[in-house]
Structures are given as C-alpha cells and as structure tokens.
C-alpha cells in the first residue's frame, strides 16, 4: 500500500471519527481459534490515552467522510467545507491487522458517512469485518456502526462478524432530531436496532440447543447521545436512555458533551465550553441505574429535571431522602449499603465480607477505603462516635463541599462564568 496516501486518509478519517466516544472493547467472548490472531475474551484494554484523557482501545475510523446527509451537529455533514477521503476495504483490513500485531489496539471500530445509500454503505462495512474474520482469521474486537435504514439482511450478516453494533441516536428527543437532522427520522435508527435485538435473542436461543450456532454480536448493542446540543434537560435524556436500555437490551448508552464544530445558529457556538461536568453527572446516573439498584425516577423526575452539578447524583438523592438514614453498616442489606454516599460497589462487597468476621468501626471503614468525608453523615458503625446533631440537608451539603475539592471545580467555574 502507498504509505503517503494511507497516511493522508488516516488523518482525515480518524479525525472525523473521534467524536464518537464509545471505545469499549469489553463484553465479547470471542476466543482465539485455530491459532489465529487475537482474542476478545478479556475485559478490553486501554492501550493508550489521548491527551484529553480518553481510552484508546480501538482503531476508530470512518470508512469515508463523504455523506449525503446534513446533520447540523456533525463535522461530516454534506454542507461542511472539509477534505473528503475514502478507504478501500483492503486498506482498513491491513491497518487493523498491523496495528493489532504491534499491540496498539484491541480491534476496529468502523463507522462511516452515508455515501450513495444506507445499504451501499452498510455493505462495505460488513465486507471489512467479513474479510478480517474469514481471510485473516482475526479474533480481535470489531465494532461496526449500523447505518440508519440499512436492510435487515445486511444487519443479520453484520452481527455474524462484529462483536458489537451501534446506532447513535445522537439527539435525545424527536423534536430535537427534526430540528438538527432533518434528513433523518427516528424509525430509521430503530429499525436496525430492533433487527439486531431480535437476532441476538434468536441466536442465543438456538445456541442452547445447537452448540455450533455461530456467535451473533456477542458484545451487544450500544448507542450515543450528544449532550447540550439541542436544549434537552437531564430528565429527558435519562428517560430516553432508560427507554433504550429497556426496549433494546442495550449494553451501554454513551453521553457525549457537544463539542462545538460549527457556526450554525441552531447550536452552541464555537468556543463555548464542552459540558464535561454535566456529561460526568449523566454517567454517574447511568451507573446508579444499572449497578446500584436505583430507578431512574428516584433521581430525575418532574420535580427534579436537572442533576446538581456541584454534588454527585447519589448524594443529591440521599440529601432529599434523609429519612432513610443513618444506615447501620453492620446490619444493613446490600441495597441500602449501596445507597450510602461515598460507598462504591467495591466497598459494599468488602463490608459484606469483612463484617462476617467482626463488627466494623470507623477505623475498619477507613482502611477499606470508604470516602468518609461524605459517608460519615449517613451511617453508623461499631462506635459510639457518630453524627448526633440533627443536621439539615443544606447543612450537610455545606459541610461536605467544604471538605472536598472536586476535580471538576475548575471546569465548573468555567461553565458558571458563562452565566456570570
């Protein structure tokens, strides 16, 4: 392959792909067969980190940045005056294999602008994955973008070679989508998602009966929403997210703070800050939903439509529900332990294990690694020292904020100065 041409294409097509934040390479179970190359059974490794601190795990590129659509929030949009390029199928295969052999990456994340038609594009994405699997005996991770509107037949084939498939809904509400991406409609996104969901269920069922049934998208489906481009509140965003988790069995929903890339009046202008703190709070809420046993409506509802920026969502919830506290760490069940601010799931398990041997006091809790500056107001343990004052939520919040310097303080003050 001609080095210079590839170099040029790689620059353009990696640059255009970077706004997709998903970089997960975990959750698959594809092991190395017949002494081939690669293995995707593990947790997924970050081989490096970008200077903005994001995990680099996959070769994330577009097949092409030619696109017939004109979505306002996207650098690849038709009306944008940028350099365009397109990889050949074989070029992507060669890059992937050579990067993988050097232990740079866990695999490939291939997306694309839509050229000609949805099916024409999807066909080429599938061709890359097929070649990697069948010709190169590649067992690393492959994430393909499902092109909105692609046919069921292509989606079925895609899942046979890819570990994960994703369609980005990007805009959390129908109204926002209509405003910013007039060429697209929600049904086009939902169609491939539905198909993939059905196929996953069907292949799993068949696998139970016939062992040799091939794998179908073993790492499942994911999607991404852009945050802060179209005015939605956190309640709307998390409701949409919850809907997608439940209706399509998604593995992950990603939240991507909008990076201003255009002077379009419908959008935040170039130079405005990326809402990174808000993005972080949404991820925390997502975790509370998926791993901590919270229902989304406990955190966001008609009364509380936006997450607090200055404290994390679990602490917010606890402050609104002081009647549930203090929790006795020596007797409480797992569900309540997980609700104590400052306790991660890891600490919860450590407590459950350690308290079988002895009653735990502050010293034990500290050694286990609990963030006591937050937790102390919400628990009692084997000690007669505990918070006896009947503090109000406001007071507790004040005390906690006084004693903790958020790593986001700087970002936060940047964002607040916008309104100042």
């Amino acid at each position: 392959m001609s080095f210079q041409r590839i170099q040029e294409k790689l620059k353009i097509l990696a640059d255009a792909a970077k706004y997709d934040v998903s970089c997960s390479s975990s959750g698959s179970n594809r092991s190395n067969t017949n002494k081939g190359l690669g293995d995707a059974t593990g947790m997924g490794i970050c081989h490096s980190y970008t200077e903005d601190g994001r995990c680099v795990s996959l070769l994330k590129i577009l097949l092409t940045n030619y696109c017939i659509f004109d979505c306002a929030y996207c650098v690849t949009r038709k009306s944008n005056d940028i350099k365009r390029a397109a990889f050949k199928v074989q070029e992507v295969v060669d890059l992937t294999i050579n990067f993988y052999r050097r232990n740079y990456i866990e695999g490939l994340f291939l997306s694309s602008g839509i050229f000609k038609s949805a099916d024409y594009t999807m066909e080429r994405l599938v061709a890359v994955a097929k070649k990697l699997r069948l010709e190169e005996n590649f067992n690393g991770y492959i994430h393909l973008k499902s092109i909105p509107g692609a046919s069921d037949e292509l989606m079925r084939e895609a899942g046979l070679y890819a570990d994960r498939l994703s369609v980005n809904i990007e805009i959390p509400t129908r109204a926002g989508l209509k405003k910013l991406a007039p060429d697209k409609n929600r049904e086009d996104f939902l169609k491939p998602m539905k198909k993939v969901k059905q196929e996953i269920i069907q292949y799993k069922a068949e696998k139970k009966i016939i062992k040799s049934t091939p794998k179908y998208a073993p790492a499942g489906q994911s999607t991404q929403m852009i945050i802060g481009a179209s005015g939605e509140n956190d309640f709307q965003i998390m409701q949409t997210s919850n809907y997608f988790y439940k209706s399509f069995n998604l593995k992950r929903v990603y939240y991507s703070g909008y990076v201003p890339i255009s002077y379009d009046e419908r959008l935040p202008q170039i130079g405005s800050a990326v809402p990174m703190l808000r993005e972080n709070r949404l991820y925390q809420t997502d975790w509370l939903m998926r791993f901590y046993g919270f229902d989304v409506s406990e955190i966001l509802n008609q009364q509380h439509q936006n997450l607090d920026l200055d404290i994390d969502p679990k602490l917010s919830w606890a402050l609104r529900n002081l009647h549930e506290f203090p929790v006795d760490v020596n007797t409480a069940d797992k569900r309540m332990l997980a609700r104590i601010p400052g306790l991660g799931m890891r600490s919860v398990h450590k407590i459950l294990n350690a308290r079988r041997f002895r009653r735990l006091n502050w010293d034990h809790l500290k050694k286990i690694g609990i963030a006591l500056n937050r937790a102390q107001y919400f628990l009692v343990c084997d000690s007669n020292q505990f918070e006896r004052r009947d503090l109000t939520a406001e007071k507790i919040k004040g005390l906690i904020l006084q004693n903790s310097k958020s790593k986001y303080t700087k970002t936060l003050s940047n964002q607040l100065s916008l309104f100042g």
């Binding site: 080095f3 990696a14 490794i45 903005d52 050097r102 201003p260 294990n353």
Partner: protein
C-alpha cells in the same frame, strides 16, 4: 536470643521452602530474606536454606486447601512485587491462614490480609499496564519484539495473555531491568536471555535490526494518536494519571517524530 534470618534463592519455590522450614522448626521471631538483599545485623543469625520442590509443593497444596484460588493468586502476585519486607507480610498471612479453621482470605480487617491484597493489587495493576503498554516492533528476522521495565517482576504473569492473543506470530517481551525475557516460537513460551550489542538503545528503532515497514506503521500510529485527540477537551493531568511518564519511552505514540 538471636534473631533468625532465613535466606532463600529469590524464587517463589525458594520462598515456600523457607516457609516450610519456619513451620518445621516452629520459629517465632524470624525473617525471610532474598539472597540479593541480605541485611547483616549484629544480633542476627543467618541461615541459607535450599530450595526444595517437594516442600514448596506441600506448602502450596496446604494453602490451596485453606484458601480460595484467587487468594493463592494474591499471594503469588504479592510475592512478585519484590518489595522489601513482602516475605514477612506473606509469612504472617500464611501463618494466620494455617492457624484458622475458617477461610480468612476475605478478612480485610487483619493487617496481613489487607497488606497482601494491597500489594497484589499494585502488581496486578502493573501487569495490566504491561498488557496495555507493550509495543511490539517487527524485527528483520520477523519477530515482534518489545522491551519493558516494569516496577515489579510481572513477566511470568504475562505469558498466558500474550500467548492467547498472538498465537500466529513470533514474539519476544524483554525485561531490561531484570535481564530476561519471554520468547514465543509459535509453539511454546520460553524464558530467554539475550546478549544485546553494547550501547543498544531500546528506545530507538534502528534500521539495522528492524524491518522497513516498521517505521511506516509507527508513523501511522503516531498520526492516529494525534488525530483522535479532541483539543477542546484536553486534560493533561488526567492523561498523565492514566499513562505515567515513566512508561513513555517505550510507547511508540510518545516518540518524537
């Protein structure tokens, strides 16, 4: 009474033999030391003990019956830390395990259990870092070569991962600090020593040794690394926390062009 120093050869088997010896003679106040870090005290009495596979195996078998498999792993990991005093902590842990009828590996309120798990965690983190940060470079003899300088002796922990992943290419991972490496010849992984030319610079890709293609792929990877960054989200503090500077010299993407 003089304090007793038991000196072993530095291997894991040697350490377990020393543990056997301690139990056999019911020593109470005792130090176990690696033969490279012997400290002579005025009031200590040194005794070098041989490594005996049979005895080591008996201790290990005892441990596997007393503890979960993952706890046994923890002991091995902590041992590979080569930390000064690690042997003492492990000895405490093992004594505590044998003196209890219950499984104690989850008792994090016992100092030796907590310490061992903390050290093992550090070693585990280093293992993961190496799995991530190893950068192979293709040599002229078609071997993918990587050099590393891990904080702990993690090479033995890397075998399985790299063998599974790179089953169809020959590779070497060399620990420059400890002067040994792993070599996979398409069939098995062996431990090897290599005589490098004097003044061999591990951070340079010298065209006398490395394939011509190698330069192109390194360049492409560096470019990719730059293109995938989002300037308006730049956060070097976070970046350095994930990729500490001491690892940079072996990362292709961190080399000056």
């Amino acid at each position: 009474m003089k304090e007793k120093n038991i000196i072993y050869d530095g291997s894991f088997e040697g350490f377990l033999s020393a543990v056997f010896y301690v139990f056999e003679h019911k020593f109470d106040v005792v130090n176990i030391q690696n033969n490279t870090s012997v400290q002579n005290g005025l009031f200590t009495q040194n005794e070098t003990i041989p490594t005996e596979t049979i005895k080591a195996n008996r201790v290990w078998k005892g441990l596997t019956s007393k503890l979960s498999a993952s706890a046994c792993n923890t002991i091995y990991y902590a041992f590979l830390s080569e930390k000064l005093g690690a042997e003492q902590i492990l000895l405490d842990y093992i004594k505590y395990a044998f003196s209890n009828t219950r499984k104690i590996d989850k008792d994090f309120s016992h100092p030796s259990v907590l310490k061992t798990s903390q050290i093992a965690k550090m070693v585990g983190r280093e293992k993961h870092r190496m799995e991530a940060f190893v950068r192979f470079r293709l040599t002229k003899d078609a071997i993918y070569f990587a050099s590393i300088e891990p904080d702990f002796n993690v090479l033995p922990l890397l075998i399985k991962h790299f063998k599974n992943r790179y089953a169809d290419q020959k590779w070497i991972i060399y620990d420059i600090k400890r002067h040994y490496g792993l070599y996979y010849d398409l069939n098995t992984v062996d431990t090897i020593n290599i005589e490098f030319p004097t003044h061999f610079d591990f951070t340079k890709t010298d065209d006398n040794y490395f394939s011509d293609q190698e330069f192109e792929f390194q360049k492409l990877w560096q470019d990719y690394f730059k293109s995938t960054n989002i300037e308006s989200r730049k956060n070097m503090k976070l970046h350095i926390r994930h990729v500490p500077k001491r690892y940079w010299k072996y990362l292709s993407e961190k080399q000056p062009n």
